[in-house]
């Protein structure tokens, strides 16, 4: 992109990477349609990297994070607009390109709002104060005589007002205030309201472009015949038939396999079909899920790294009146975002320009750097819209594909994945097994809890243990440890990461313990959470709203769960029944969440709905199996995701809070499977501890 105006994010603190590197992508518009829109800005006041105020009154808010359906493009602007006292109808959003000036641009860990709440409030307030000062100067009055509201600065006691746009040029020369005065949350007009997403119309009329939709002049499209095993290699290939396929331009070997580059997607796919590649399966060509399971079960016999040790577990085990032992098993899972992974790269004039639908532009940038050995200023990275991500797009493998390939061409090359490739070449949620031993004393009081996590070797054990050591229940003797075994299967964070496993273990475990003690699972939890008012808050709310303890339709049962993750508290009640076929039907999910100060309630509801659906999919259907070193599943017929006819009614309740805002995208996932399984246990007396439920 050459439109510098568009790229000028900040006049003061912006570090220019290169002349064309700072372009932001307009919401709802493809890159090609970008310029026409920016020309509206005749002049813009840019008090900081996050906001530009145009002389035409438009407020352009620059997104430091990426949008994948979680609606940060609405929630983050709301925070800034609140403090700015902006007219919401004048707000538009652009995606900030990769740029160190933003700090981490990784969208993950349900952290966008938490980490940007203060920053964006300050950015908005600073701009507001500068506009007020500009107006005061113009009116020759102290700034205290002026106030800002809905896009105007007003002169107190008069009808005089000046629009932000008309003050833009003046404000440009105002000193940045040393002390930022934030609004009293009681005066919030935007934060806390359900505001519609700014871009929904583009999502329903087909005009919103995702990475897969990117079209650039002269662009080529490629698919890769990938090395099917995790550590295999290409021995040889014969592209003679491929080169005869109309539309195919070239065949190039890259590190992930052999790429077929064509004029369009279908020709590339046809060319790939005709391609004959001999692979070497590599050391793990015989790997299968049964072996992995066997190894993880064996590892349970060894003592692992102790993550928590309260009281004396050995003494407690001997003292227990009654005990239980449960073995939990969960499979590998693929994120399967609706839009398969893809990435586009273009080499020209010594530059490498990349268009990546990514949660992690930093990782993609680093990958491009290490492939090209270009200096930072020669790599331009645009973050594109994602059709879902759920943690999958934290990796950079798609960018590696595009950069490795595009360097051989002078035209831009888009590398797309077909669904099969995407499912079979994932960064999977690790499979794990868990041994839980727990027991109660003379008076049915919870006495001990011993949880061993066994899973694949991961960079940081938290990726498989998160949520295990921080069990919130007041149990006097707790021991949690982890053993890891090396498997060559690529893994990565999946929405709520290890809380998907440990929320399941903790919440089915405590439920089973309540039953062992002959007590109501809600009351039992409540008592053991007596020191954690925020846990109790969501638990009580979900119990009340779900009608816990009240009569149910015959054949129905309820299960409850509560879990803390990503600094938020989420409780869930599932209501289920069993069909004649033996299948379980989920009728209703009631959720309560405490995520501190809520920015956009509707956005929270949407994320909780999505988290529940993802949790149900994992509990009922999700399974990646390995056979002969490769992933068996390939598409939605053998890797099913929840369908409309399995969809329960979802009822969501949010705790009112003025605590700082915390995560929303991930916290609803962990309590969902255990609520469902605990409901099944209430109906059948059996805890299903091996997922997925439907095999």
């Amino acid at each position: 992109m050459t439109d510098l105006k568009m790229g000028q994010i900040s006049r003061r603190d912006f570090i220019k990477l290169s002349s064309g590197s700072t372009v932001a992508l307009l919401l709802g518009f493809s890159i090609n349609r970008c310029e026409s829109r920016t020309q509206i800005d005749e002049f813009s006041f840019e008090p900081n990297i996050y906001v530009r105020i145009g002389s035409d009154d438009t407020i352009t808010i620059v997104m430091p994070r990426s949008e994948m359906g979680q609606k940060v493009y609405t929630a983050l602007p709301m925070i800034l607009a609140e403090e700015l006292e902006a007219d919401w109808n004048k707000v538009r959003v652009v995606q900030g390109d990769f740029n160190p000036v933003f700090g981490s641009q990784t969208t993950g860990g349900s952290a966008s709002i938490r980490t940007h709440y203060n920053r964006l409030r300050e950015a908005g307030a600073t701009a507001r104060m500068m506009l007020v000062l500009a107006a005061a100067t113009k009116w020759g009055t102290p700034p205290d005589n002026c106030y800002a509201s809905e896009g105007y600065v007003h002169l107190k006691g008069t009808r005089k007002k000046l629009s932000y746009g008309s003050l833009a040029a003046l404000a440009e020369n105002v000193e940045i205030p040393e002390q930022v005065i934030l609004k009293d949350p009681k005066d919030f007009k935007i934060i806390g309201r359900s505001i519609k997403s700014l871009d929904t119309a583009y999502k329903v009329d087909g005009s919103l472009d995702f990475g897969y939709d990117l079209t650039l002049p002269g662009m080529l499209t490629a698919v890769i015949k990938r090395i099917p095993t995790f550590d295999g290699s290409v021995v040889d290939y014969d592209d003679s038939k491929t080169m005869e396929v109309p539309g195919v331009e070239a065949v190039v070997q890259v590190s992930s396999g052999v790429a077929v580059v064509a004029k369009d997607t279908w020709s590339a796919i046809q060319g790939r079909k005709a391609l004959d590649v001999t692979f070497d399966g590599g050391p793990s060509a015989h790997l299968n899920s049964t072996d992995i399971r066997e190894k993880m079960l064996n590892a349970l016999k060894h003592s692992g790294e102790v993550l928590r040790n309260d009281g004396n577990i050995n003494v407690a085990q001997k003292k227990a009146n009654k005990s239980l032992e449960l073995l939990f098993e969960v499979p590998y899972l693929d994120h399967a975002p609706q839009e398969p992974n893809n990435c586009t790269a273009h080499f020209y004039d010594g530059l490498c320009e990349i268009w990546a639908p990514t949660q992690n532009p930093g990782a993609s940038f680093e990958a491009a750097k290490s492939i090209t050995s270009f200096e930072d200023s020669k790599i331009i990275l645009h973050t594109l819209r994602m059709g879902g991500a759920f943690g999958r797009r934290l990796a950079a493998d798609y960018t590696v594909d595009a950069v490795e390939l595009a360097r051989h061409f002078s035209d831009p090359v888009k590398v797309v994945r077909t669904r099969e490739e995407d499912i079979q070449h994932g960064t999977y949620r690790p499979a794990t097994v868990h041994l839980l031993k727990a027991g109660i004393g003379e008076n049915n009081e919870a006495l001990y809890w011993k949880h061993t996590v066994s899973g694949p070797q991961v960079g940081w054990h938290g990726t498989i243990t998160g949520g295990a050591p921080d069990l919130a229940y007041a149990i006097p003797n707790v021991n949690v440890d982890v053993v890891m075994s090396p498997f060559p299967v690529p893994t990565g964070p999946f929405r709520s990461v290890a809380h998907t496993q440990n929320g399941f273990v903790n919440e089915c475990g405590i439920d089973a313990l309540a039953r062992l003690a002959g007590q109501d699972p809600y009351a039992y939890r409540r008592e053991l959470l007596r020191d954690s008012p925020r846990h109790i808050g969501v638990l009580d709310l979900v119990a009340e709203k779900s009608g816990w303890g009240k009569d149910l339709e015959p054949g129905h049962a309820r299960g409850i769960a509560v879990h803390y993750s990503f600094r938020s508290y989420c409780a869930m009640v599932a209501e289920i029944s069993q069909e004649k076929s033996g299948k379980f039907r989920v009728h209703r999910m009631t959720a309560a969440i405490d995520c501190g100060q809520v920015i956009n309630p509707d956005g929270v509801w949407a994320q909780v709905e999505g988290g529940i659906v993802m949790g149900l999919t994992a509990a009922l259907h999700g399974k990646i199996t390995l056979e002969n070193g490769r992933v068996l599943q390939s598409n939605f017929h053998n890797y099913p995701i929840l369908r409309m006819d399995e969809m329960p009614v979802i009822d969501i309740h949010i705790i009112k809070s003025e605590e700082p805002p915390t995560g929303v995208g991930e916290p609803p996932v962990p309590p969902t499977p255990p609520a469902l399984i605990n409901a099944i246990a209430a109906l059948t007396g059996e805890y299903i501890t091996r997922l997925p439920i439907n095999g």
Partner: protein
């Protein structure tokens, strides 16, 4: 072998010269530049690529281009006469989309449902919509939006 195929796309006559087996999806997207119709599974099981052919829904990823010769194809871009179609409007009012990727397919499917059955109940909605996947999990809002749009869709 390239073949010339003529059909109507969103009310306009178009003609392309492609391999007759090319799925309609790729012709619409790559040859004709209408990217509102999405690829997600390529085997007719997710519904993201749903379009209307002569008024009926079809999975464009498994529809060979030769089979639409002289037929009328409508994509998400052609749905509204002006502004938004009532179903699209209901989608906006109910704030249905999360990422939005599946939504063109959801909407095209919902439009057909409402044409055939102006006031579907939940079970009828489930039956009609179960072939369109949404990994983000917007199903509850889709149900609601279909109810909101009930009675608003004319068969034309």
């Amino acid at each position: 072998m390239l073949t010339k195929v003529s059909f109507q796309l969103n009310g306009k006559q178009v003609s392309v010269e492609v391999d007759p087996n090319t799925p309609l999806l790729w012709v619409i997207r790559d040859t004709l530049g209408f990217t509102g119709t999405k690829y997600s599974c390529g085997m007719g099981i997710c519904g993201s690529c749903t379009v209307h052919i002569d008024g009926k829904t079809a999975k464009s990823c498994i529809t060979p281009i030769a089979s639409v010769a002289n037929k009328s194809v409508m994509t998400i871009e052609g749905l509204a006469k002006d502004g938004l179609h009532p179903v699209q409007q209901a989608w906006v009012d109910e704030e249905v989309p999360q990422c939005g990727y599946c939504q063109p397919g959801q909407i095209m499917t919902a439009v057909e449902l409402l044409k055939n059955n102006p006031n579907p109940d939940d079970a009828e909605i489930d039956a009609a919509m179960k072939g369109v996947l949404c990994r983000c999990g917007t199903y509850q809002r889709i149900r609601k939006a279909i109810h909101v749009a009930s009675g608003e869709v004319q068969d034309d």
